[in-house]
């Protein structure tokens, strides 16, 4: 039984009407088809021209083996997985905060990750032996720890997960304060500024199979529990009081969702830096083109986000070949265009 029909018997389906179930699957198929196309394109686009790449595919040698299967393919797959995690995080954030324009960095995770990276970069240069281990931890782990730490700080500041409004407010406070601390630290060592900028603008350039495997594992770890909780997310759409009266434990639900959100966001930020807009646009786009339940959204948003980031990665590699645009700049442009389009349609319809 497909996901769309999973919770409905024949009679229920008759009640529901077939139109809802029927649009979801074709949409999903189209999205996955686009993903395959983009992956294929990723194999062919890079610093060598298309002709050379196709020649490689026909008659592989040692160099093509490295470039195609150890550089381009893991990068494409990793970009998809990172985009999927961001899309999933965005879907969870938008449902948790009942805000169609929420993004997964809402609770200060972006600022926390930036601070973690700054500290680890500074510790590499620092002569304080006590902090040398921080430098050894690596940028990836430092970003992860920073992001998780920031969310934990937000939850502590809002005194638990009892109220969504206080969580949001605490998230804003944490984001501002950690940003300020990061800026202060950067002033002391301007050499790290360029590396920080790379992180802040997002970079898929160094995704390898190990990173892709990590992203894939985390995607699975976040996706399965999220699907299990999707009924609760549906109930949340009726309003928090109604959801509570239906028998849901709201603090428990919020805590679980926060854990999933922070895991998804922190892992992605560690691997590809701060890539914006994908987490916002993917679930929003799904909702605009389809009308879906939470369960379907939790499937469609990652698929959409993965394709988006893959496309952005492709553009970043291709636009000023063989130099590269930071992938966060490309997603910002794409995201900005999408929002402008939304605005234009809204004012035209009004």
């Amino acid at each position: 039984m497909s996901i769309a029909h999973a919770s409905l018997s024949g009679e229920a389906l008759a009640l529901l009407g077939r139109e809802q179930a029927s649009r979801f699957l074709p949409w999903l198929t189209v999205c996955l088809g686009i993903t395959l196309l983009l992956t294929g394109a990723s194999l062919v686009v890079g610093t060598s021209d298309v002709h050379t790449s196709i020649t490689w595919l026909m008659s592989p040698d040692a160099m093509s083996d490295t470039v195609l299967w150890h550089i381009r393919l893991p990068r494409a797959v990793g970009a998809w997985l990172a985009g999927a995690l961001l899309g999933l995080g965005g879907a969870i954030a938008q449902s948790l905060f009942r805000n169609p324009l929420a993004d997964p960095y809402l609770l200060g995770s972006a600022s926390g990750a930036a601070l973690g990276v700054t500290v680890s970069l500074l510790a590499v240069d620092a002569s304080l032996s006590g902090f040398a281990w921080v430098g050894g931890v690596g940028v990836t782990a430092a970003a992860f720890i920073g992001a998780c730490g920031a969310i934990a700080l937000t939850v502590a500041l809002s005194r638990g997960v009892l109220e969504t409004a206080s969580l949001l407010l605490a998230g804003i406070v944490v984001a501002f304060v950690l940003s300020a601390v990061t800026s202060l630290l950067l002033l002391r060592s301007p050499d790290t500024w360029r590396t920080m900028q790379t992180f802040l603008l997002g970079n898929t350039g160094f995704l390898d199979w190990r990173g892709a495997a990590l992203l894939g594992a985390v995607l699975l770890c976040c996706f399965v529990p999220a699907i299990a909780l999707s009924r609760g997310l549906d109930a949340l759409m009726l309003g928090e009081d109604t959801a509570a009266s239906l028998g849901l434990s709201l603090p428990g639900l919020r805590l679980m969702l926060l854990v999933l959100l922070s895991l998804a966001t922190a892992t992605t930020v560690g691997q590809v830096g701060l890539v914006g807009f994908v987490g916002l646009v993917a679930p929003h786009l799904v909702r605009q083109t389809l009308h879906v339940s939470q369960r379907q959204l939790l499937v469609a948003a990652p698929v959409c986000g993965g394709a988006l980031l893959q496309a952005a990665d492709l553009i970043s590699r291709w636009a000023i070949q063989p130099a590269e645009l930071p992938v966060g700049v490309v997603t910002a442009c794409l995201g900005g265009c999408y929002l402008v389009l939304l605005l234009w349609r809204r004012t035209r319809n009004a």
Partner: protein, 294 residues
């Protein structure tokens, strides 16, 4: 007696004339923005906002005239105790003005030069981007300080030192012409042939994997480095050990055979600053090249 008197008079007249000439002919220079700047006499109180300019002023024996530098100037050691006026982007205007400098030497930052102009502080923009700028800067600052001969001597010394290093390096390299990738930052940002570093590498006889049309400091696709398989890689000490972890980079000859050069921060300063120590920086690169080039 009559001859002595006439000679003394002639000398006195000559001195007077010289003084008068000096008073009547102030030093007129045009800075990089084509602004005309007049100095009645050589400046006694100088502030420099660029490390290369600091080093140039000190190389012209005018270190004692410096009253403040920017926060990054650290050579020679005597300037470390001077007050620091921030960087180019966040210069401390108040400090600069309170020190009443005769001139502020800097590179072009529009807001800063405008502000100093408004406040009546004489500022002089000197470009220090390319290799050719080094000689020009020496001449300009020498003229400003009233010692053009010393500047000319410095310029000749710098150029001959560079030529010497280049010659020795090419002799040491012999038939080898190593393909080099100079990584400025971990994005990866590379030094292209038009950059200052790129010029140095070219003079030493190395070939750059970056081509001229990519610009001075392009952000490369890491795949590009793998495809071009450089013989020697220059990286920062933090990244040098981890190059092999980047996907596909363990294939690069330079990584496999450990032909990686990493310089400490002090040595890096001599390489990236287009100043009087350019020959030292070049020597560091040349030594490493000679050591690791295949």
């Amino acid at each position: 007696m009559k001859g002595f008197t006439s000679r003394a008079t002639a000398v006195a007249l000559a001195v007077l004339a010289h003084v008068a000439l000096a008073a009547a002919n102030p030093i007129v220079l045009h800075d990089a923005l084509q602004r005309e700047v007049r100095f009645a006499r050589p400046p006694e109180r100088i502030i420099t906002l660029l490390p290369s300019l600091t080093e140039m002023v000190c190389a012209l024996d005018a270190c004692g005239r410096l009253v403040a530098t920017d926060r990054f100037s650290n050579f020679p050691a005597s300037v470390r105790t001077l007050p620091k006026a921030g960087g180019l982007d966040d210069a401390q205007i108040e400090l600069i003005v309170s020190l009443k400098p005769d001139v502020v030497l800097l590179s072009h930052v529009a807001r800063l030069t405008d502000r100093l102009q408004e406040l009546g502080v004489v500022n002089f923009v000197i470009e220090t981007e390319t290799y050719a700028d080094i000689g020009r800067a020496a001449d300009t600052i020498g003229a400003m300080l009233g010692s053009p001969q010393r500047a000319a001597a410095l310029r000749r010394a710098m150029l001959s030192a560079v030529d010497e290093v280049a010659r020795q390096s090419q002799r040491a390299l012999g038939a080898r012409s190593p393909l080099v990738y100079y990584e400025v930052d971990a994005a990866p940002y590379a030094a292209g042939p038009q950059s200052f570093i790129g010029t140095l590498l070219a003079r030493l006889g190395a070939r750059n994997i970056v081509t001229a049309e990519l610009g001075a400091f392009p952000a490369l696709n890491p795949e590009y480095v793998v495809l071009h398989d450089p013989d020697v890689i220059f990286a920062s000490p933090a990244d040098a050990g981890n190059l092999g972890r980047r996907p596909g980079w363990d294939r690069i000859r330079a990584v496999r055979e450990h032909r990686v050069c990493a310089f400490s921060a002090d040595v890096r300063d001599t390489i990236v600053r287009p100043g009087p120590r350019v020959a030292e920086g070049m020597q560091a690169i040349a030594d490493c090249l000679d050591r690791v080039a295949p």
